[in-house]
């Protein structure tokens, strides 16, 4: 790897998140009805952030939202949407392995697999395949938050390691 590339990859840190309750809300129709639209990040790729800047509600695919570790208020909001007949809620705990990729070289690592600028242009998150691993990707302060399909998590970690300078 060239010196320039090595510098760009320096300081990349990949951390696995703890197993937490995770939900997916799927609307029956898209765009969703008016009541849902008011409280929801409806635009494709829109992300709602919690008070700690943590993504709490990610519109990662048409009519499909990811709720990692939802608090009571969000759970109640979604439950109300379900009760209103807007969609269904599925407990997908264990399906996604949460990860954080941070550091100055984080974008370069991901650019090995995808054109990040194009994928995240004008949006906060996207569902895509990186290093052959399906995942949801979101920009966060200092890097990226990822939810990798759990069965691919080891492979994804190995791919990131391969793209470090020492790899």
């Amino acid at each position: 790897m060239s010196a320039v590339a090595a510098d760009a990859l320096a300081g990349v840190r990949l951390e696995r998140g703890a197993a937490v309750r995770t939900l997916e809300f799927v609307a029956f129709a898209f765009p969703p009805d008016g009541a849902l639209r008011a409280a929801w990040p409806v635009e494709p790729g829109a992300v709602s952030l919690g008070p700690d800047d943590r993504p709490t509600l990610l519109h990662f695919a048409p009519a499909r939202w990811l709720l990692p570790d939802p608090d009571e208020a969000l759970t109640a909001l979604v439950a109300a949407a379900v009760d209103a007949g807007a969609g269904t809620l599925v407990d997908v705990s264990g399906k996604w392995q949460a990860m954080q990729l941070t550091g100055p070289g984080a974008a370069r690592v991901l650019a090995s697999a995808v054109d990040l600028d194009a994928v995240l242009a004008g949006r906060g998150c996207a569902a895509l395949v990186l290093f052959d691993c399906p995942l949801v990707l979101a920009r966060v302060t200092g890097g990226f938050a990822l939810w990798v399909r759990a069965s691919y998590a080891c492979d994804f970690t190995a791919a990131v390691e391969r793209h470090r300078p020492s790899g």
Binding site: V26, K95, A111
Partner: protein, 980 residues
């Protein structure tokens, strides 16, 4: 050999040692293999591909057709590295190619004696009797460029995807101007330069740009580009692309080491790749010592390496005189300048006139209206044979050791043509330039025919500013700087010197492929008029050279021979990549373990820690067997299967695909997706279901669980979840659009542990505790109960794919390992896929190969088609072809003698050996329960009669076995064990 230190713009002072053909040489840091060998007096670099003629350096870049080297230790080499591209490093080992036993003494050079018989097309005409195959090994051994490495482990290659407003290919004056204009306008710029240094030929042509010396302008421009956020990639060539995706390949040092592939998607693309010098054909123009004029200048200015001592120049333009002056200033003696233009064409004013006068005063012969007819010499040039064009018989020789030739410049259109561009002939250049191009792409500078410095700068600047504007940048690019460099070349197209027919066999057009003027004439005589046909017949412009030096020259000669203009001939298609790219670079990250992803279950680490032998099943890694069960896979599988039949065992079933289908219309939707109705499944129960493709073939099978009135869990085969989900989504989004149905893949959300065997209920009760025992006792076949275990949700489904009393535990992944370990601890050891296959075949269950996309539910005796559910694919089940006697259906199979072995894949034939196979074995296992080999097979209905004796033919693995057809269910046909 000690050589004095040289001075060149790219040279450092450090001495570098390397070997060529086993002999050690010394060069300097910054050298290339070509420059260092040249400086060491080496003239012979290789042998030609066909006639094995001695060849030397011809060019100074990737266009080099002859001096291709193999790099590395013997047997582990990277072939076909152009010597001018190969950066010198200490310890470098390189070899010449296409010679045996040595470069100096190549026995195959005897072919030169028969060169007259080996013209274009001789392969096709000569080697016909008794067959091509008789000659092929010998010809293949002689032919080809270099040798493919036998075991060459190349370093990793990095890949990067880039997005930018303006991509500029080439960082010569036009490319730098384009990049600077675009960056000043506010565009995001990426600039790729194949050389390690930007600036193109400004480093030896000099000149001024704006108020600065050319070299200073290059430095300040690069600094400004960096300050404006532009990315400049040196050692990086744009090698190909299509559909707006541009592929650039970085290969610092010219050989695999720190390679990178850039996949660039620009909004706008400026092609400023420059032009490559074009040769002129004359007899024996391939001798070592014949070189392109610009190459000699590069070797001198950049590496202080002299192309020779006594030079004769042969050209058709003014710039030859400026070049000659620089070479003379560098210490070489210019004996003569042969200019094929007449005195009238030469003109009476300009820098060239004064330079010519100066040369004449200094004793250099300057001969307008002359041509260089031939080079004399063997492994090196000894003299040039010249004559006036008006009197070709008035020959004379001029002693020299080097002939430098320049027939003009060929704009490099590769990047444009790879994207589908159509070239246009420019008569003033004697070459082709890019024709009409799409709005997003434009050629500029020398690549666009602007050879003069000021024109190149203006053209590049305009292209960059336009590209930035089109990409949405609104800043002011300003105006292009004025440039002063070499005069316009004032070229008169000239492609070959006069020659007798017999000498045309020595007028080389394509030096890499030994294509001569005689070959081109032969192709035309044979009726191959189109340039593409000429290319294929003669091999003109194939190989790594890809027409860079030969393409336009060949087209011009074909035009001359046909009596038409080059515009009427056109150019042949230029193939990607622009320069050789190793397969390793193309593979990028996808080698070895990274070739494809491996999916792991939550129990993966446990399996590894406890002797599980894992193997890929689709993308999943699954335990095949456990080492503790037996000495090898066969013994372990038999032991594990027997254990399940006698006591019990557990299997990691987490790979099972799981799709949650929910909503008010979920039941009706699933009724259309499956052969049997989902709407009639009661909550808390499950059903074995089959879904079909539109053509009636079985797509997949699995259990469907009704979790709640409006919520189902559909299970699929391992690894089938994605395409079954895709099938569902297609119908949900098209036929069922707007209905209350949601589909969610929850495969990884639930780990699955299968507990099977007579003692499964007891063991499970022991682990789950008293709270679950009543439920376990009550739960009926195909029922499930959901509850809590260890504070987490757990679903227990009673279902069996082994024929034994069995349960599936669906739990969250975090609970999988403790639950699994607890089951092991109560005496339920794990079993792997080999044992599962045994259990399934014994029971007549589909193993996998029966669901091959060609079987219907009737073929598999699933007994569901008659239910009349109008699902997808049902309508076509009545096709007459599905009911013909020749249609194959599932049946059991055993060896007639009760002990012989047969394997899956064996073809089944009747005693009548004249007939085609009537079927084949889909699955076979050794049954420990029955003590013999058993299997499943797909056999023609008319033959699939129990008791029929067939022959299982497997000549490659085990010969023939006599088998008899039996019912598919080999063990417990009434299902008593399963329902116990």
């Amino acid at each position: 050999m000690n050589v004095p230190a040289r001075r060149g713009s790219r040279l450092g002072a450090t001495t570098v040692r390397f070997t060529f053909d086993g002999r050690e040489y010394r060069g300097q840091a910054g050298d290339t293999a070509a420059s260092a060998l040249l400086a060491n007096g080496v003239r012979l670099f290789g042998r030609s591909i066909k006639y094995r003629r001695p060849r030397g350096l011809f060019a100074a870049g990737p266009e080099e057709p002859c001096a291709l080297l193999s790099v590395g230790a013997a047997g582990d080499v990277i072939p076909n590295v152009p010597a001018p591209q190969l950066a010198l490093r200490d310890g470098l080992v390189c070899w010449s190619q296409n010679r045996w036993p040595t470069l100096a003494l190549d026995l195959a050079a005897l072919l030169q004696a028969g060169a007259g018989l080996l013209g274009a097309g001789f392969y096709y005409k000569t080697f016909m009797w008794p067959s091509w195959r008789s000659y092929e090994p010998m010809i293949r051994n002689l032919a080809g460029l270099g040798r493919a490495p036998r075991a060459c482990e190349l370093p990793p290659v990095s890949t990067e995807h880039l997005c930018c407003d303006v991509l500029v290919a080439g960082a010569g004056p036009a490319g730098l101007a384009a990049g600077l204009a675009a960056a000043r306008a506010g565009a995001r710029v990426v600039l790729c330069e194949r050389e390690p240094v930007c600036g193109g030929e400004l480093d030896f042509e000099g000149g001024t740009i704006g108020a600065l010396a050319a070299a200073d302008w290059v430095r300040t421009t690069l600094a400004e580009l960096a300050a404006r956020g532009a990315r400049v990639l040196t050692d990086t060539a744009v090698v190909g692309g299509s559909g707006g995706l541009v592929i650039a390949h970085a290969e610092p040092g010219g050989v695999a080491g720190a390679n990178a592939i850039y996949r660039i998607r620009p909004r706008e693309f400026v092609i400023a790749t420059g032009a490559v010098e074009r040769p002129i054909a004359f007899a024996d123009n391939d001798r070592p010592g014949v070189m392109l004029l610009g190459a000699a200048e590069r070797f001198l200015a950049r590496y202080g390496a002299h192309a020779g001592r006594e030079l004769v120049l042969f050209a058709n333009h003014d710039r030859a005189y400026a070049a000659a002056a620089r070479l003379r200033a560098g210490g070489m003696r210019v004996r003569a300048i042969i200019d094929c233009r007449t005195e009238a064409e030469f003109g009476a004013s300009g820098t060239a006139v004064s330079l010519r006068d100066q040369f004449r005063r200094d004793g250099t012969e300057c001969l307008p209206g002359h041509a260089l007819l031939a080079a004399e010499g063997g492994r090196g040039v000894r003299a040039a044979v010249i004559a006036p064009l008006a009197a070709a018989d008035a020959r004379r020789t001029i002693a020299c050791d080097t002939i430098l030739v320049s027939g003009g410049w060929t704009p490099l259109l590769h990047a444009s043509l790879h994207e589908g561009g159509a070239p246009r002939y420019a008569p003033e250049l004697g070459a082709f330039v890019a024709g009409a191009e799409p709005d997003w792409r434009r050629s500029a500078g020398a690549a666009n025919g602007a050879l003069e410095l000021n024109n190149a700068l203006a053209d590049g600047w305009a292209a960059g500013a336009r590209a930035a504007r089109r990409a949405g940048a609104s800043g002011d690019a300003g105006v292009a700087p004025a440039g002063r460099g070499d005069d316009a070349p004032r070229l008169v197209p000239f492609c070959r010197s006069p020659a007798r027919r017999v000498d045309e066999r020595r007028q080389f057009v394509d030096l890499q492929n030994d294509v001569t003027v005689a070959d081109l004439r032969s192709a035309l005589t044979e009726g191959f008029q189109d340039i593409e046909h000429v290319k294929r017949y003669t091999t003109l412009g194939v190989g790594t050279e890809q027409g860079r030096t030969s393409g336009v020259l060949g087209a011009a000669i074909v035009a001359e021979l046909r009596g038409v203009t080059p515009a009427a001939v056109g150019t042949s298609r230029l193939r990607q990549p622009y320069q050789p790219v190793t397969m390793r670079s193309l593979a990028g990250d996808r080698v070895g373990a990274a070739l494809r992803p491996a999916r792991r279950t939550p129990l993966h680490d446990w399996h590894l820690a406890h002797g599980g032998v894992l193997e890929p099943m689709g993308l999943w890694l699954r335990p095949r067997y456990y080492r503790a069960s037996g000495a090898d896979a066969h013994a372990a599988a038999i032991a594990e299967a027997l254990r399940v039949r006698t006591t019990g065992g557990i299997l990691d079933g987490s790979t099972l695909g799981k799709i949650e289908v929910a909503g008010a219309d979920a039941a009706a939707f699933l009724d259309r997706m499956y052969l049997t109705r989902a709407s009639t499944i009661r909550t808390g129960r499950s059903r074995y279901m089959v879904n079909l493709r539109e053509d009636g073939m079985v797509l997949d099978d699995g259990l469907v669980l009704r979790l709640a009135p409006e919520r189902y869990l559909a299970t699929t085969g391992s690894g089938h979840a994605t395409h079954v989900l895709s099938h569902f989504e297609h119908y949900r989004d098209t036929e069922w659009s707007g209905r209350a149905i949601t589909l969610t893949d929850v495969t990884e959300a639930w780990a699955v542990i299968v507990v099977a065997g007579p003692q499964s209920r007891a063991g499970l009760g022991q682990v789950l505790g008293a709270g679950w025992q009543q439920a376990l006792a009550r739960i009926a076949h195909m029922e499930f109960v959901a509850g809590d275990f260890a504070g987490a949700g757990l679903t227990v489904l009673r279902a069996s794919f082994s024929g034994e009393l069995a349960f599936e535990l669906h739990c969250r992944p975090s609970l999988a390992v403790p639950l699994w370990q607890a089951l092991v601890d109560v005496g339920l050891p794990p079993y792997g896929l080999e044992a599962l296959d045994i259990l399934r075949v014994e029971k007549g269950y589909l193993v996998g190969s029966e669901l091959n996309g060609e079987t219907t539910p009737m073929d598999l005796h699933l007994g569901l088609a008659s239910l009349g559910n109008a699902c997808v694919g049902h309508e076509l089940l009545d096709r007459p072809a599905f009911h013909e006697p020749a249609r194959r259906c599932l049946i059991g199979i055993r060896a007639s003698d009760g002990c012989a072995k047969f394997l899956a894949g064996a073809q089944l034939v009747t005693a009548d050996a004249q007939t085609r196979p009537c079927g084949y074995v889909t699955s076979s296992v050794y049954s420990p329960t029955l003590g013999e080999w058993i299997g499943l097979a797909l056999v023609a209905r008319r033959t699939a009669i129990e008791g029929t004796v067939l022959t299982a033919c497997d000549p490659l693995r085990g010969g023939n076995t006599t088998v008899r057809l039996v019912p598919p269910v080999h063990v417990d046909p009434d299902g008593l064990r399963m329902r116990a």
